[in-house]
Amino acid sequence: MAGRRALKAVLIDLSGTLHVEDTAVPGAQDALHCLRQASVSVKFVTNTTKESKRNLLERLQRLNFDLQEKEIFTSLSAARSLLEQKQHRPLLLVEDSALEDFTGIDTSHPNAVVVGLAPDHFNYQTLNRAFRMILDGAPLIAIHKARYYKRKDGLALGPGPFVTGLEYAAECKATVVGKPEKTFFTQVNILAFGANNSPASETFSNFLFDFFSIQALSELGCSPSEAVMIGDVSMFKVSISVQFVFADYFQLVTSMQISI
């Protein structure tokens, strides 16, 4: 196994990897335990924008996963991270249940606009306010740009259309900080499972992460070249070649164990 770089961190997707709805993925608890033994830093990543970290933690602990709140990194965490870095004071157009993850951030005299899934805030007055702020120079930060989502009463507009409208009106580009639907990597660095096995090649290469992943890793103090992301095959953009594909999560982790 030549040319290996030290693996310092692992980003693990939550939904579909650790659990599916309210059921743990078989073998996932044990695999996580193995990872812990390997003294690799772990961050659990998810694109939720409605649940606070505390809610997620409770749900996962109920499924017997051993993890701490600070190891959870959501799209909201990525937004918070950017706000802290740039010392922005945000106008938070996010759901009330998401506000919890922004406690401690100064929101007085806002000079940045953060847009999440917030139908209550997507009214004419509030959007005008956001628009005027952006015209005056406030950056537009989008948690994500989903076109729509499913509600009990049918499909409903997501934040994407409103972010697009603001981008057009103010002639600006939003910074999208949330976990993308498809995580984009250049070259290979993915350990994916769920598809058929293919021979393992064993070289980790450099990879380019999206803002979300870079933020998650910076909280662990490591660079993209020292980390891997583990997730369901469907989450990775097909244009890159997948070098590792494992039948299941457990096999994947034990294989990593051997090379660490």
Partner: protein, 279 residues
């Protein structure tokens, strides 16, 4: 040599005013600023319109106004003191109605309450398209969602947007225009809207046809650099921007549209035009 320089000057502003046969004026931001009640006439504009009408130039008004029926907003302008009549005004709604009738479409309307009356003769049952106008406060999440659901449920969704403006100026500040919401629905439904109104070529053409004039004989004066000036230029007309209404200094350094002339307001534009023509 001398005559060549003279000829070149005549293609620039205000020299080309000598060869004009008609002028088209935008309404909001040129004649008046909208806001509380009837809004406010822009200083000098009432007099400027009078002077144009007294001249030998043909005059029409081309607007993307969609918050009220043509009759209603012309009455408002008359109350403000403007000499203007319905037959001289070209807004998008009548054009849109003609289009849906011609194509056998039945629209779901996302427009200002004040415009609904304009669509009285139009079949709106079982809608198979959406028409979006400047709905202002009626751009609620719920109303947008309803329009979205109509479109997403159609096999061949058609979205008509009455104009595509990014924003406009009211007395209490800048406000999002129909274009922002058009883009929102385009993104949500992954489709492209058909724009009826400025800067659509057919729209400008319908005004020119009514005047019986060619584009190169006509000047458009507006506050919206892209939709008024750029749209007119694309049509072959000259376009002059006023520094009232939604004008912003950055317009004078725009990457794609350069106005043929930029003036402080309509009054100045008209004085310069008439001076060129010897008045």
């Amino acid at each position: 040599m001398r005559s060549k320089r003279f000829a070149m000057a005549a293609t620039g502003w205000p020299g080309f005013a000598k060869s004009l046969k008609g002028v088209i004026l935008d309404l909001c931001g040129v004649l008046y600023d909208s806001g509380e009640g009837d809004g406010v006439a822009i200083p000098g504009s009432i007099e400027a319109v009078k002077k144009l009408k007294a001249s030998d130039l043909q005059l029409r008004f081309c607007t993307n106004e969609t918050q009220a029926t043509r009759e209603k907003f012309v009455a408002k302008l008359q109350r403000l003191g403007f000499d203007i009549s319905v037959s001289e005004v070209f807004p998008p709604a009548p054009a849109a109605i003609a289009v849906v009738k011609q194509r056998g479409l039945r629209p779901h309307l996302l427009v200002h309450d004040g415009l609904l009356q304009e669509f009285d003769g139009v079949d709106q049952t079982n809608p198979n398209c959406v028409i979006i106008g400047d709905a202002a406060e009626h751009f609620s999440y719920q109303n947008l969602n309803e329009a979205f659901r109509v479109l997403i449920g159609l096999e061949n969704p058609v979205l008509f947007s009455l104009g595509q403006g990014r924003y406009y100026k009211e007395t209490d500040g800048l406000k999002l225009d129909v274009g922002a919401y058009m883009k929102a629905l385009e993104y949500a439904c992954d489709l492209k809207a058909e724009v009826i109104g400025k800067p659509s070529l057919t729209f400008f053409q319908s005004v020119l046809n009514d005047m019986g004039l060619k584009p190169h004989e006509t000047l458009m004066i507006g506050d919206d650099l892209v939709n008024d000036v750029g749209g007119a230029q694309y049509c072959g007309m000259k376009g002059v921007q006023v520094r009232t209404g939604k004008y912003r200094p950055s317009d004078e350094k725009h990457p794609t549209v350069t106005a043929d002339g930029t003036v402080d307001n309509l009054a100045q534009a008209v004085d310069m035009i008439l001076k060129q023509r010897g008045f």
